[in-house]
């Protein structure tokens, strides 16, 4: 056990799986870097250095730099997965799904069903998401609801270095296509991370705080903010449960329902655009299955329905933050209009 950054945790997970299984390969733009160039090899180790060191250890045959050709190499990764490799492909920014989504949602996601159950597609697509980087509208989105919408895909959103390592190893060993979301603002966050390989199961939520008054569900980077909000509220006498579902597909809705039944109040924090996001999905499911337990209307904390702005003044306004979460919890606490049946 040692303190490791989120970046190191992902790197270590991939490294350990590559060492364990020769069928695991890694590909992407500048994933090692320096291909065909006169300077250093492994010049970048991925756009933000997450895969640094893999190429020197495993060679160019298993760490493949690609041209800028997302349809080409994401599709090749799908085809390679279908025929016996276990590729980990890097779709740099999830915003780039627009140029290769067909290969993900019409091809990889559907092989198993369309082919009558006979296919296996052990593919991992790593991708960066999220705002806060001043990266503007085309490099900041939280597009995991779009992937969650597609049957056949699994969607993983680690909230910490510990989750990142365990969920990445699980993703690589999983036999279905997995989209692995890495928040670019989390890469330098540190945490205690075991040195040895370990897995965290998909579809099992993690309770990061336990309380009696309200339930907060949050995803990815929002879990940190939800924890902070819960701690501040706790000091003011309002105790909250915080649920990190870890994966949006499969989604551990049972744990969410159980906690909502216990507290009677629900706030969902989701960095994705507000229409048809995880917060609206969870709100719908809770309203459908635990309506009688609710003491107050469900509150969703999400950005406004706008592209992600560039100016720091606007981006900060756009993003959910601790204050917004606290005021949503206060709102559900105040809304005493309805007694639990």
């Amino acid at each position: 056990m040692a303190r490791k950054s989120f970046r190191q945790a992902v790197n270590e997970a991939i490294r350990q799986e590559m060492a364990r299984d020769p069928r695991v390969i890694v590909m992407g733009e500048d994933i090692a870097g320096g291909m065909g160039a006169p300077g250093e090899d492994d010049a970048w180790g991925g756009p933000l250095g997450v895969t640094k060191g893999l190429m020197p250890q495993f060679g160019r045959e298993r760490v493949l730099d690609t041209p800028i050709t997302e349809s080409g190499f994401i599709g090749a990764a799908a085809g390679a997965a279908l025929t016996g490799l276990r590729p980990v492909a890097d779709l740099m920014f999830v915003d780039f799904m627009g140029v290769c989504f067909d290969q993900i949602f019409n091809q990889a996601a559907k092989f198993k069903y369309m082919f009558g159950g006979k296919a296996r597609t052990p593919l991992v697509i790593r991708t960066m998401y999220g705002a806060g980087f001043r990266a503007a509208s085309q490099h900041s989105q939280c597009l995991y609801p779009l992937f969650t919408h597609v049957p056949g895909l699994k969607v993983v959103i680690p909230s910490s270095p510990y989750e990142a390592k365990g969920l990445m190893i699980e993703a690589i060993r999983d036999d279905d296509p997995v989209i692995f979301f890495e928040h670019k603002m989390l890469y330098d966050v540190e945490d205690e991370v075991p040195d040895e390989p370990y897995t965290l199961p998909f579809g099992e939520a993690n309770l990061t705080r336990e309380g009696d008054d309200a339930t907060i569900v949050a995803f990815g980077r929002m879990v940190m903010l939800a924890n902070e909000a819960a701690d501040q509220l706790g000091a003011q006498g309002i105790s909250c449960t915080v649920i990190d579902p870890r994966t949006t597909s499969p989604l551990d809705i049972e744990t969410i329902l159980e906690e909502v039944r216990a507290t009677g109040r629900l706030v969902v924090v989701d960095e994705a655009s507000p229409r048809c996001n995880m917060a609206s999905d969870i709100a719908a499911q809770v309203a459908e299955r635990a309506f009688e337990a609710l003491k107050a209307p469900i509150r969703r904390v999400s950005p406004p329905h706008t592209p992600v702005p560039f100016s720091p003044a606007l981006e900060d306004l756009y993003l959910p933050d601790v204050e917004k979460i606290i005021s949503a919890v206060r709102a559900v606490m105040a809304a005493g209009g309805r007694k639990a049946a």
Partner: protein, 321 residues
């Protein structure tokens, strides 16, 4: 011509099977019994068979929406295919894929594809597997003239060139994408496009089984030997509409009749082996009769086979969930 008598018989049987399969599906579709979209391959048999005769079960192909011919040429079970087209549980994909998604991974058939241009990147992936695991296998990406204008095709060709993958791209230029002529839709020359990616290409009369077989053989052997990707531009024709139900008002009135009379790949094959005294009419006629019986049996069984059960709706989405 280096094909043995056995290989010639196999080639003819395979082409005949495709032709009779498609003629039968055409007739059955007209009765209203076959659900969905069906795109028939009749007329193009020399391509699928000429190419796939050079492949083994370990090699992979990625196919198209017009995939029945590729499936049969790659060894898919005909009865399983027919049952699939009828949406039956006994179909090759348990009735969940249908005509546009027939696949048989055990035979290296990576799927017909409902997305035009969807297959070429997947073939690159199969070639990458072969290269990484050093299996000696190759992959073939079939695509139409319409698909040749998709970005995925260009991306796959560049990637194959850069990674030096054992993959061969086969452009089946049947003159049309739906109602749009390839003479209009393809800017420039596909061979020059391939050359631009550093991929050697050759243009072949796609009605001529022997020409296709030889050209494909060369490209596939080179790819297998580590010589990188290849490209074939086959000029051929489909006999039926784009899909079943297409009135083909965009074609010349006598176009198909003329093709059937003068450029039919089965007739050309028979003439060629007859003139060279390689196979006699009796042997070829016997094959046709056997194939007819096989198609009849496959159709009868497909019609009688049970539909999937309601529980099947929810299975096979994930390996585990």
């Amino acid at each position: 011509m280096q094909l043995s008598r056995e290989e010639l018989l196999r080639a003819y049987r395979s082409m005949c099977t495709i032709r009779q399969f498609e003629e039968r599906v055409h007739a059955e579709f007209a009765t209203g019994d076959i659900p969905g979209f069906v795109h028939l391959y009749a007329g193009e048999e020399a391509s699928a068979v000429g190419v796939c005769m050079n492949l083994t079960e370990r090699d992979s192909i990625a196919s198209t929406h017009r995939g029945h011919g590729h499936c049969i040429a790659k060894g898919c079970d005909v009865a399983g295919m027919m049952a699939e087209i009828y949406g039956r549980k006994s179909g090759l994909c348990a009735g969940k894929g249908g005509s546009m998604h027939i696949a048989d991974l055990d035979r290296g058939m990576l799927g017909a594809n409902g997305i035009v241009g969807g297959g070429a990147p997947l073939a690159c992936g199969a070639a990458l597997t072969a290269k990484t695991l050093k299996t000696g296998a190759v992959a073939v990406a079939f695509g139409g003239d319409g698909a040749s204008n998709q970005g995925t095709t260009a991306e796959a060709m560049n990637l194959a060139s850069v990674w030096r993958l054992p993959v061969v791209f086969v452009l089946e230029d049947n003159g049309y994408a739906e109602s749009t002529a390839s003479a209009w839709s393809i800017g420039g020359d596909p061979l020059v496009r391939a050359e631009g990616f550093g991929i050697p290409g050759v243009r072949v009369d796609g009605h001529d089984f022997f020409a296709v077989h030889a050209a494909a053989g060369e490209a596939i052997a080179r790819a297998r030997d580590g010589g990188g990707p290849g490209f074939l531009h086959l000029k051929l024709a489909r006999y039926f509409g784009h899909f079943e139900g297409d009135g083909m008002t965009y074609r010349a009135p006598d176009e198909v009749a003329k093709l059937r009379a003068e450029r039919d790949c089965l007739k050309l094959f028979r003439r060629r082996v007859g003139e060279a005294q390689l196979l006699d009419d009796a042997a070829l006629d016997a094959i046709e009769a056997e194939v007819a019986a096989e198609i009849e049996d496959a159709t009868r069984r497909a019609k009688a086979a049970p539909m999937p059960s309601p529980a099947d709706l929810l299975t096979d989405v994930y390996v585990s969930y």
